[in-house]
């Protein structure tokens, strides 16, 4: 097999590639089920379909998708600019710490402002944590992939120390947890199962989609990623773009952290995310590095979490299968993306036929 570069990127393949990737992932999942002696069709049904058949599980899906969409949309923008923030998990944690500061320090302050301030501080926390990597890259040329990842471990240890030490709930039987949040320290629910964060994530992704396609900032990010030299010729500062991308993606991850502790988790504890910050990397790629695409991709990844829980309870398949399926999915997405810029030599191309 040989690949030929297409003269232009194929728009049809850009849409088809995630679909093909998803199809291949489903086939792989079926094989895994079969290897474990489970009927593949039954396994696939429990994993991918059943969660969509009940209202409560659809609501759960939306709630799970919230942090994934928020973080994935931000990462999509950063990756577009070739800024490789892979420490969103850490920025999420930093956001949770900053947001959690309010209920922990001022447990009796209850007003709508409490919640607004929590979300705001969460974003700022994520921005601050992300900006460290941006600063180190701009000032010292330190690889942002490595620094942002190292900072994940550091901030997780910081949170661990806080909830085991100064922020531990004195009445919590020595469990490493903060006090549980109440009232205005929690997000309001729109329906019985959907909280306000769902709307926030949706709006944020749509706004980012608009920024990327219609504004000069979006143009700057696109150009910076495609061709750094042309970006400089266009008058855009490379360092500015790097900082912007980390502030944006870090801020959204921090916001996701604030949303998680003020909804699903409801307090601070050593682990507040089952790896949303890493799964969001898959969301960003699956969504074609497009913030709006991240909405669909986020829902799909959320399904992979819920499906994983479902197969564990229904079929006794360890929910670790979730991470395998997520990893496999990313591989297929990357492999299929090849077909956007390249075509397999020898096969007739659609454009040729037209010509």
């Amino acid at each position: 097999m040989r690949l030929e570069k297409r003269a232009e990127r194929s728009a049809a393949m850009a849409l088809a590639s995630p679909v093909i990737a998803l199809g291949l992932t489903v086939i792989t999942a079926a094989i895994i089920f079969a290897l474990r002696g489970i009927s593949p069709l039954n396994g696939l049904y429990v994993y991918f379909i059943e969660p969509l058949t009940a209202l409560w599980s659809v609501e759960q899906l939306l709630v799970k998708a919230t942090p994934l969409v928020l973080i994935g949309a931000g990462l999509a923008v950063a990756y577009r600019a070739n800024v490789w923030n892979i420490g969103a998990e850490g920025q999420l944690t930093a956001g949770a710490i900053m947001a959690g500061m309010i209920p922990v320090m001022l447990p009796n302050w209850q007003s709508p402002l409490t919640l607004i301030l929590m979300l705001l501080l969460g974003s700022i926390g994520g921005m601050l944590w992300g900006s460290i990597s941006a600063f180190l890259k701009n000032r010292f040329n330190a690889n942002e992939i490595l620094t942002s990842l190292m900072l994940v471990y550091v901030v997780q240890l910081l949170l661990d120390w806080l909830v085991r030490g100064p922020w531990r709930d004195p009445k919590g039987f020595n469990f490493p947890k903060s006090i549980t949040f109440t009232d205005w320290q929690l997000l309001p629910y729109i329906t019985s199962g959907i909280h306000l964060g769902v709307i926030i994530a949706l709006v944020m992704a749509l706004v980012l989609g608009f920024v990327m396609t219609r504004t000069l900032k979006g143009f700057e990010i696109t150009v910076a990623g495609l061709s750094p030299r042309a970006a400089r010729f266009s008058g855009f500062s490379k360092q500015g773009t790097v900082m912007f991308c980390f502030l944006l993606s870090g801020g959204l991850a921090g916001l996701a952290g604030a949303i998680e502790i003020s909804s699903v988790v409801g307090q601070l504890q050593p682990q507040i995310s089952p790896g949303y910050g890493f799964a969001a990397i898959i969301v960003a790629f699956l969504g074609r590095l497009n913030p709006v695409g991240a909405i669909l991709a986020g829902l799909l990844l959320a399904l992979s979490y819920i499906g994983g829980e479902a197969v564990q309870t229904a079929l006794q398949v360890p929910e670790k299968i979730t991470r395998v399926i997520q990893g496999v999915l990313l591989f297929y997405v990357l492999a299929c993306d090849t077909l956007i810029a390249y075509r397999i030599a020898g096969l007739p191309s659609a454009t040729e036929k037209r010509a």
């Binding site: 030929e4 003269a7 232009e8 990127r9 219609r214 504004t215 000069l216 900032k217 979006g218 143009f219 696109t222 150009v223 495609l226 061709s227 030299r229 042309a230 400089r232 010729f233 266009s234 008058g235 040729e352």
Partner: protein, 512 residues
């Protein structure tokens, strides 16, 4: 009459739908310097790569000393005795000269023994090379010597040289010719690719001319004129640039005052005390061998790198040395970078989006600082396509799908469309076919005659003599005084290219 060393018969090479070589035949005698002529894109490099085994022909045969051969890869070509000096050298910056040469030689890996051989062969042929020098630190001429030595150490019977003099000063080129003539005298054939007709007429005893992938003539270049050769290459008379009015020097619009800039990176050049002024109504050209600071000077003038002091650069009397590129554009400056793809245009973006690239700050209709108006960009793009005859496959294609000439017309048209007061162009017709090049040069002359200041940086002396009113020469980051084009000869420029003015600048440095 001896038998040919290499006989290429009816070679066809197809890329997708493009026939790059269409029944090309070519015969090279031992000891012959054979010119291979043709425009950019005529298919010369394709054929040469097949002879060197880097590409495989779609059909056709090759005979080496009468035997049919299939050359599967460059190692086989080298084993036969075919050596090649690439236009864009196939060297490794991070490796030493000896390591670079070792990579092309078969047999045991012994760098110290090889170094001794390099030293002796380089002395023998008058091609000085230091074996342990890192190639990244060397000049273009030194790098070419390494490429040539790399071939010589394999005792080649055929040496292929792809545009070897395009990066050399006239004097360096003369040195090269001495080596080539000696090799020919020793029985080594040379296949010499060039579009410099003067040197072909003096050096080569046979020539094959290629046009659109087909052989159009086989002849003895010594019996031709540059005009007749050019006609066969292009297939038509090339339009001469016409000046609508004689140059009238207006006010000085662009002034560089003792501009200096430190080198940015390992292989970059520092600019030293560059002074120059360009007036409205004239074209000033900066000649020089590639890699002598042209890119750095362009960046300094465009504002891609800002200067230490505002007064190092004056635009219509205004000191802008510390301003960014967009602030300068707003003052009526326009820039055309050397590299079209990846600097002047984003390859993967469509033409209308590439309009935004250089116009978003100076053109309020296209962008207002926050929002982009693609409809306005689209209108401007259409205007440029129409005015500058940019040919393309569909309405708004990606920049990379355009041919070099058409993309160059677009990136120059994009700036001319603003009617800039000051235009700075780096290598305006590099890699562009003759027709497009003539159109571009005409557009530059026309702009200057309207009262704009035009500064052209070029390696092409023919081009410079065709359009420039005054000429300065850059060498190792220093610029000679600009002198009227009529008072300069090629030889004088060649000496300046080799750095004869650098001493003087050095003295200036002391005085300052």
């Amino acid at each position: 009459m001896t038998a040919p060393l290499l006989e290429v018969q009816d070679i066809v090479k197809v890329f997708g739908t493009l026939k790059a070589n269409d029944n090309v035949s070519l015969a090279i005698m031992p000891g012959e310097i054979h010119a291979f002529l043709g425009e950019n894109g005529a298919g010369k490099s394709t054929l040469v790569k097949m002879i060197y085994g880097a590409l495989q022909p779609t059909s056709g045969t090759m005979r080496w000393n009468g035997q049919v051969v299939k050359i599967q890869n460059p190692a086989e070509a080298r084993a036969l005795g075919i050596g090649m000096v690439f236009q864009h050298f196939s060297l490794f910056d991070a490796l030493t000269a000896a390591e670079n040469i070792a990579l092309a030689l078969p047999g045991a890996h012994d760098i110290s023994a090889l170094s001794k051989r390099i030293t002796s062969v380089s002395k023998d042929y008058g091609l000085p090379v230091v074996p342990h020098a890192a190639v990244g630190d060397l000049s273009v001429g030194e790098r070419q010597r390494i490429e040539i030595l790399r071939c010589l150490l394999q005792n080649p019977k055929l040496l292929i040289m792809d545009e070897p003099t395009s990066v050399l000063t006239p004097q360096e080129a003369e040195q090269l010719f001495i080596v080539l003539r000696r090799l020919a005298a020793e029985g080594c054939a040379v296949l010499y690719i060039s579009h410099r007709l003067e040197e072909v007429m003096s050096l080569c005893s046979a020539a094959t001319i290629l046009r659109h992938g087909k052989v159009v003539a086989r002849l003895d270049p010594r019996r031709e004129t540059a005009v007749s050769l050019a006609r066969m290459m292009v297939g038509a008379e090339v339009a001469q640039v016409k000046s609508t009015a004689p140059a009238t020097r207006g006010a000085e619009r662009l002034v560089l005052q003792n501009l200096s800039l430190a080198a940015d990176g390992a292989f970059a050049v520092a600019l030293k005390n560059i002074s120059l002024s360009v007036a409205g109504g004239e074209i000033v050209a900066i000649a020089g061998v590639a890699g002598n600071g042209q890119g750095e000077l362009f960046d300094a003038m465009s504002g891609e790198r800002s200067l230490q002091d505002d007064r190092l650069l004056l635009v219509d009397g205004k000191a802008v040395g510390k301003s960014g590129i967009n602030a300068r554009r707003k003052l009526g400056m326009a820039f055309v970078a050397e590299e079209r793809l990846g600097h002047g245009a984003v390859p993967e973006l469509c033409l209308s989006a590439n309009m935004v690239l250089t116009r978003h700050a100076s053109d309020r209709g296209i962008a207002n600082g926050i929002m982009i108006h693609m409809d306005q960009a689209e209108i401007a793009k259409e205007r440029i396509v129409k005015n500058h005859d940019v040919r393309k496959g569909r309405a708004d294609p990606e920049a990379r799908s355009l041919s070099g000439g058409n993309l160059q017309k677009f990136v120059i048209g994009r700036e001319l469309d603003r009617n800039p007061g000051i235009l700075i162009v780096n290598q305006p017709t590099w890699g562009v076919d003759a027709g497009a090049a003539a159109a571009i040069r005409q557009a530059l002359v026309d702009l200057s005659r309207q009262g704009s200041a035009v500064l052209v940086i070029s390696q092409d002396l023919d081009e410079i003599f065709e359009i420039a009113d005054r000429i300065a020469v850059i060498s190792r980051g220093q610029l000679s005084d600009a002198q009227p084009a009529g008072t300069l000869t090629r030889e004088a420029i060649g000496l300046l290219m080799a750095g004869s003015h650098e001493m003087k600048s050095g003295e200036n440095n002391h005085a300052a």
